[in-house]
């Protein structure tokens, strides 16, 4: 079964065509990677898939259901969670509070909740309990009560992941989860992503520039360049693809120039 599929997605910002006829699919239970040079349109496509960005044409299907008109806040009910490339956290709140917001759709009746009725208090306790478990799984149980603004950058990326997990998702979209992490943190996060996939059966769709991460964890990889599909295949196939090599070499040439 496919967890998530998009067909011929096109998005343009004024004159800039950020996504040009992109099609891809994420099979249930797999780890799929999305790579491409800077500005290729990866984040824009993620925004389309999570409904933060409207697409000019094309279709998105979640478990074969058309979700072209869903609102961003409805995605989590379907089972899709995401993290943001530019971390989106409450700096003044603790790690725990940041994780708890991820469980928002599980709070039940908001009117019972805001009056702290007994049922709402029970729900809250169980959500806190689950937030603790998630923190433990991500090796950050020690930092639950630390304010996020006091955490190192690599940790904040992990808080984002924890928040996404708190919604009990079937699918998580990760936008550059190890950007800004050192080697040790990257290794740790790679292990975590694999565990989420193998032990909890969560489907993962991942944008990442760190090739060691992408090539090691992904079952399948899509490459996009200038907003268009460039190639796709297993990590080995993609690494051997001449177009992909030249796209990345071209980028390096640009960087050097």
């Amino acid at each position: 079964m496919t967890q998530l599929r998009c067909e011929n997605i096109t998005v343009s910002f004024g004159g800039v065509v950020a996504c040009n006829n992109i099609s891809l699919e994420v099979p249930t239970g797999k780890i799929v990677g999305l790579i491409g040079p800077n500005g290729a349109g990866k984040t824009t496509l993620f925004n389309v898939l999570s409904r933060f960005q409207d697409h000019d044409s094309g279709h998105i299907y979640y478990r074969d259901q058309d979700i072209d008109r869903k609102k961003p806040h409805q995605m989590v009910e379907l089972g899709m969670a995401r993290t943001f490339q530019n971390i989106n956290l409450f700096g003044e709140q603790s790690t725990l509070d940041n994780i708890l917001i991820g469980a928002h759709h599980l709070i039940g009746n908001p009117f019972a909740d805001m009056f702290s009725l007994p049922a709402a208090r029970r729900t809250e306790r169980s959500l806190v309990q689950r937030a603790n478990e998630i923190a433990e799984m991500l090796h950050m149980q020690d930092e639950l009560d630390t304010l996020v603004k006091n955490l190192p950058y690599g940790y904040r990326k992990r808080v984002e992941l924890a928040r996404a997990l708190a919604s009990q998702p079937e699918l998580i979209l990760l936008d550059e989860p190890v950007a800004g992490c050192n080697d040790e943190e990257t290794d740790e996060l790679r292990g975590i992503v694999q565990r989420l996939n193998r032990e909890l059966g969560i489907t993962i769709f991942l944008v990442e520039h760190d090739m060691s991460m992408v090539m090691n964890v992904c079952d399948y990889i899509y490459v996009i360049n200038f907003g268009s599909n460039l190639a796709d295949g297993t990590p080995a196939e993609v690494q051997a693809n001449a177009d992909v090599i030249s796209a990345y070499l071209g980028e390096e040439h640009d960087d050097a120039a």
Partner: protein
């Protein structure tokens, strides 16, 4: 970091944290309990006269009105410059009921609050797409709109206004200055209890999430339309109740005062000077806004200037308000204790880089 090095510690840590949190909550309750006990007992002293009780009731009305603002501006991040509009709606609803139907204080307060909540709900829907300065301008326009209506629509009697019968409650024909004070005090206690519950609930978390990390909130299932409208509704209800009391405190309601923008300004200044994102902020703000003109009675113009100076000073030196400054050492102490009890290590790893979460 070595994962194996911390295996059994977390459970003990979590228990220590839970115990600490329980203790902090207990301290909060004791503090609030002592405060309200004092507020309830002091008027029983023989030196306290009726006009003093009325002055204290006025402070409470401003605290309530500022609590309404704090829901919207402090917790949800939507700046409102027009809450005088909700104050007027509460005041006129209750006044009309009292004047024409002889309704008592309690039903006036409830209906005043509900009417304001209804209008607040509509306003939340209309202002869905407004943010920042545009929200401020929109709410200001709303206050002018309400002002124009009470000034021109005949049933509101324009600047002539109408006077209200003595405040009656539960069959008591005139509850007097002290009775009125206690009605205000009980209302304040209930509202404060509700605010305490709200800001700690999942709903309060959603409000704050919309304020600080809107995308994260939405991707977590927070329906922006619903929660913004809810914040508007709750905020309007609280200020509407304050408005009902505000009409009854002088037993007179007219467009002379309610068509003016000064109530909106005073309520906002009270909320901001006190600290609109803190439970205790409106208390400080309410005292400030009532006491300044009280002490500068002969120098009315000077009291306006003083309010302005204090507002600017607070915005420059302590944008989160006086309560935030006062609470800072306590909060830092608690935060440190919690982080330590939880076993915080991240800061020892160094590399505290980048800016805290915020805009994408």
């Amino acid at each position: 970091m070595v994962a194996a090095a911390r295996t059994s510690a977390p459970i003990a840590n979590r228990q220590a944290v839970a115990a600490l949190k329980a203790r902090f909550a207990q301290q909060n309750w004791i503090f609030a309990g002592v405060l309200f006990a004092l507020l309830a007992l002091v008027p029983l002293l023989p030196v306290v006269e009726g006009w003093m009780a009325t002055q204290a009731a006025l402070v409470i009305i401003y605290i309530l009105a500022a609590q309404g603002v704090s829901v919207l501006t402090g917790h949800t991040g939507l700046v409102t410059v027009g809450h005088g509009g909700f104050l007027a709606i509460g005041a006129y609803t209750s006044a009309l009921m009292s004047h024409y139907l002889g309704a008592d204080l309690l039903s006036g307060m409830i209906c005043g609050g509900l009417m304001a909540a209804l209008i607040g709900c509509l306003l939340g829907l209309i202002f869905l797409r407004l943010a920042g300065a545009f929200m401020a301008i929109g709410t200001l326009g709303f206050a002018f709109f309400i002002g124009t209506i009470v000034n021109n629509v005949p049933i509101f009697n324009g600047r002539t206004g109408f006077s209200l019968p003595p405040n009656n409650l539960f069959g008591v024909i005139d509850i007097g200055d002290f009775g009125f004070y206690y009605v205000c005090l009980v209302t304040l206690a209930l509202m404060t209890l509700f605010m305490y519950s709200l800001v700690r609930s999942g709903v309060g978390r959603a409000f704050k999430a919309l304020r600080d990390a809107e995308k994260a909130a939405q991707s977590s299932g927070v329906n922006r339309l619903f929660y913004r409208t809810l914040a508007f509704t709750i905020s309007a209800f609280i200020t509407g109740v304050a408005g009902a009391l505000n009409g009854h405190i002088v037993s007179f309601v007219s467009a002379e005062v309610y068509a003016d923008i000064w109530y909106s300004v005073d309520i906002l200044v009270a909320a901001i000077v006190g600290g609109s994102a803190m439970l205790f902020g409106p208390f400080i703000g309410g005292v400030f806004i009532v006491m300044v003109p009280f002490f500068f009675e002969e120098l009315a113009d000077f009291s306006f200037i003083l309010k302005g100076i204090v507002l600017i000073g607070v915005l420059m030196l302590a944008p989160a308000g006086v309560a935030d400054v006062a609470a800072r050492p306590f909060r830092a102490m608690r935060q440190r204790a919690l982080a330590q009890a939880g076993g915080a290590t991240a800061r020892e790893h160094g590399r505290t880089g980048g800016s805290p979460g915020g805009a994408e």
